[in-house]
Symmetry: C2
Subunit: 615 residues, 2 copies
């Protein structure tokens, strides 16, 4: 009898294998489980509770687990269960339930798609009119679309059947007014499009009827590559180890898009084979991994991509299961760390038309930003690290149920009030919770602007790595241990915000912009973070609070615009080529700016601070 490992509460199974860790089994079986460091035994996040015989825990494992080791928890990356058994995934180890941002800000879609639909009647051939099926279709079609002059091979292969089935009544899909790319029997055929925002963490698909302009469905999921590693660098390292691992990463993303496309189609009562055009955006690493381009160059200076121009390929050449002749357009990328998502942002926000100095900031896994001023655009990417996503934080976690997302510290007793996603006892802290906690501690005078805890205050105590602040006592958390913010956590956030701030300041200096008029916050983190708290930790150059505006998933909106309109696509290409790129790596001034902005700003007068930090 083959023994299985059963992952609970999902009930997913994998055959037991003494040679493979539980993390490897989970990855192979597609169990949605965190694997932040890619199984290297560094992050201590892949905690599970095994029920069955296991190998003994290692010293490293016990060290990473801390108190949790006593609760029977193990790290999946060290755990083996040769004889199978059940294993429980605590909620903080699961990928499900994560908040995903799908909605973007954008105007009404301009409809001018590259594929269009025509409904025709094609007369049958006769001895006195034996014209071939292809030219006969074109003859009928040319009355409405005179420039169409060719048919795809896939269309030709099905053409006799399609014509016969409906007595010559067909729906014809034409690409760019030139080529027949689909023929469907009857007059009920549809012409659909799919826009995809392939993020490092999340994937969102938008299903659009390209004939009516109607939005049919939106679906989102975690990027399953997360099971290989949270951040881009971990994935690139994994990918560079072998060709097989590279194609594993690639097919994880492809399968996710196919799956979401099927779900969106099911919701709308249509079929993926009715999707004739797909537009994708994402950062340059996602772009390369998805398209099967060698990502090695992205990992080392000069961080040069294989291709930066907008790419048009056949959808099935990259594994997308849409209409046989469907095509995929990837928006251009700008640089190794400024991707098509950033280009899509500038399209959605019409950045070239922004006259007053505006900083567009996408704080996803990477910190990409664009400074727009008087029609000129300049972008850069700051290596903020994963702190804004809860990474490298002692009790950090993703923005999933149980994550602290807002912290208020009230009165002289420093009473702490936590807002937790899902309204359950806290399990850890996500990025916005971290920013919120630090802002509150700065405002309450618990943290100095250098990032040091003041001694002898309520909640401050010595920890294993210097002073720490207790946000919640063990009995009120969901983990049975104190929820604390350590000095190391604060330092991690300092490094992250200094990198972002230095990038923004360097952009302003290079463009000769003395003052920002507006900050537009894009992406998931930008949406969930409280602008006042971001200001309080010094994330942005000086700006009035009311001029910080969240714009939601504007990259997704940009992808939708490029799907709906060929003109929008041309604008995106022109934005990508006219936008200037500022390389921070090795920039002579970057280090100075970075060091200048390591300290937190001095808090505003105590009386007014409470308003800024209360949720």
């Amino acid at each position: 009898m083959i023994k299985d490992v059963v992952f609970l509460p999902m009930g997913m199974r994998a055959p037991a294998d003494p040679e493979r860790t539980l993390l490897e089994l989970a990855q192979a079986a597609g169990v949605p489980m965190v694997g932040t460091c890619g199984g290297k035994g560094q992050c201590g996040k892949c905690r599970v509770l095994p029920m069955g015989d296991t190998n003994p825990a290692t010293g490293l494992e016990v060290g990473l687990l801390g108190q949790a080791a006593g609760q029977g928890l193990r790290l999946a990356c060290h755990l083996r269960m040769a004889n199978g058994g059940r294993v429980w995934l605590p909620v903080e180890s699961r990928l499900e339930g994560q908040k995903i941002l799908t909605a973007g800000q954008g105007g009404v879609l301009d409809l001018d798609p590259v594929v269009r639909l025509h409904r025709l009647m094609v007369a049958p051939a006769a001895l006195d009119d034996p014209v071939a099926a292809g030219p006969r279709l074109l003859r009928a079609l040319n009355k409405r679309a005179p420039a169409v002059d060719r048919l795809g091979l896939g269309v030709l292969r099905d053409l006799p059947k399609s014509l016969a089935q409906s007595h010559g009544n067909v729906t014809v899909i034409v690409r760019k007014g030139r080529k027949v790319t689909g023929v469907v029997p009857g007059h009920q055929g549809r012409c659909l499009g799919l826009a995809v925002d392939l993020g490092t963490t999340t994937v969102v698909v938008y299903l659009l009827d390209l004939h009516t302009g109607q939005s049919l469905a939106v679906r989102a999921a975690m990027n399953p590559q997360v099971t290989i590693g949270d951040d881009v660098v971990t994935r690139l390292t994994y990918c560079n180890q072998s060709h097989k691992q590279a194609s594993t990463l690639s097919s994880l993303a492809t399968e996710c898009v196919n799956h979401l496309a099927r779900e969106a189609c099911a919701e709308a009562g249509v079929l993926p084979s009715e999707i004739y055009e797909c537009v994708m955006v994402g950062n340059t690493a996602m772009h390369h991994l998805f398209l099967g381009l060698d990502p090695q160059g992205l990992a080392v200076a000069p961080y040069s991509p294989v291709e930066s121009s907008g790419l048009k390929v056949r959808a099935r050449d990259v594994g997308l299961a849409l209409a046989p002749e469907a095509r995929l357009y990837w928006l251009p990328v700008k640089a190794g760390f400024v991707g098509a998502d950033t280009v899509a942002l500038t399209l959605a926000l019409d950045a070239a038309a922004l006259e007053q100095p505006t900083l567009i900031l996408d704080l996803g896994t990477n910190g990409e930003m664009v400074l727009a001023s008087g029609g000129r655009l300049m972008c850069c990417s700051a290596a903020a690290g994963p702190a804004f996503e809860g990474g490298h934080i002692g009790q950090g976690m993703r923005g999933a149920p149980g994550a602290v997302e807002r912290v208020a510290i009230n009165g002289r007793g420093l009473k702490t009030v936590l807002k937790v996603i899902g309204g359950i006892p806290p399990l850890g802290m996500c990025g916005s919770g971290l920013v919120s906690a630090v802002a509150a501690l700065l405002s309450a005078g618990v943290l100095t602007s250098a990032g040091a805890f003041k001694e002898n205050l309520p909640g401050v105590r010595p920890g294993s790595k210097g002073l720490e602040f207790v946000l919640a006592e063990a009995e009120s958390t969901g983990k049975g241990q104190d929820l604390v913010l350590t000095s190391a956590d604060v330092a991690e956030l300092q490094l992250a915000k200094a990198a972002i701030r230095a990038g923004a300041e360097l952009l302003m200096a290079t463009m000769g912009v003395p003052r920002l008029e507006r900050v537009l916050l894009a992406g998931a983190f930008g949406n969930y973070m409280e602008p006042a708290e971001a200001l309080a930790i010094g994330l942005f150059p000086t700006i009035a609070l009311s001029n910080i505006v969240g714009v939601g998933n504007a990259a997704g909106t940009g992808a939708l615009m490029a799907l709906a309109s060929e003109k929008a696509r041309c604008r995106a290409e022109s934005l990508a080529s006219s936008m200037e790129y500022l390389e921070l790596s090795g920039h002579p001034l970057f280090r100075d700016y970075f060091l200048d902005h390591l300290p937190f700003p001095l808090p505003i007068a105590e009386g007014s601070s409470k308003d800024a930090v209360c949720a």
Copy 2:
């Protein structure tokens, strides 16, 4: 132990199977064996000599075998060998050794290919010049080819490796001056092209260096679809039985072209992956079967093809194993029975420039012809049947060793002299031998113009189906039986030549051409047939012997021209669309013309006839 059937003399093996006939086993194992009627038990050609236990011969089989049944011969389509054993294929049952025409007539190739080669040095990326690999390549390339603006996905996938391997020195292949379609490390890369003439019976490939214009190799083989059935109609019937059978036919042809391409490359010391462009010609049935287009429409009136325009597809989409981004161009077809080979003929012969009335005749498996006059072209296809290829003739065979190809009948004793392919004792008669025999018998007065043998002449004797003429006695043949020409054989040739002649006369009448200036004979049969003998049987409208010219495999030449030059390709498209098509099926005058030309012409005065018929 698994038992095998061993096919001798090749030594090829197939596992024994009581459920399958030897013909099916031979087809599955790729044994080059005739299967003229497609295994229906009608033609009696698939004769083999079994050595081992067999099922008993059926009555039908014995009837078809005649004398040969007594020699132990069986029909492979009726034979089963449940326990395996050896089976000998007599030479007339094999497909090997057939004469194949590869050489065409044509001028020097005009070199203006759609793919061109450039040798470049691409500078590496640097922090102050982090341009992506694709645009960097284009930047270097644009100094010589300014319009190139994109790269294929396959090229991008290998680009970093190709650039790294040779320190930026690469050979770049550019398609149509716009798209990079290949990048090879170093400066030794080649840009090759392949022209393919896919005939019903034979396949010829020509390998060309598109950079130098040099012809590198020519290879030819039997079309392996012959194992399914000799003629187009048998194959279409087979194909229409199931989707699987259709794809079997398709992949037989694809594999044959791939095999010939590999052989040609091996001969030239190059690789198939260096072939970036392929051009194909062939009749409309071959076109449809190769491209996977539904051929059902070709089998019934109005014989309308699925597509007639020139088709550009990716070579790998149709299974060709060339360079990853190689493309295939099929020349346009004109009608269900006037294919791309006929269009290629008109290109090779510059038919639109022929001022004087010229009949171009391709007597392959089908009888396609084009009448050119004063810049006007009109074509038709006459259903000649397989007589000209030795089919439906009692002792007919292909133009392989042992086939009688020329017959002379000398003096009053009617002494018969045979010219046999390979110089061995005769086994049967091929098409040119049949024409030669009938011409000689007409001239010698043994046959009447109505096609009847005169009684009481030497060599004429009663046979099972009326009178027959003994061409060779059993002891001088290789089969141990008399080689005879029957009245039925003569009638078969009469039907065939009357169809061709009626088509030609109808073309002339329709175009108002009273007299031909020239006849150009293309294709294998046209090449091996003696023009004087063709005239003697009345195959052509009245014309002087010196004005009948063989032009070899001009269709292959046309394919080569379209491979070497984009302008030639445009000329072919324009020839195909300006050429008029005359449908003979159901034409009110066709029957009259056909009946008018059933009789053979009266022989010329006896004294001069010998010169015309002696080989």
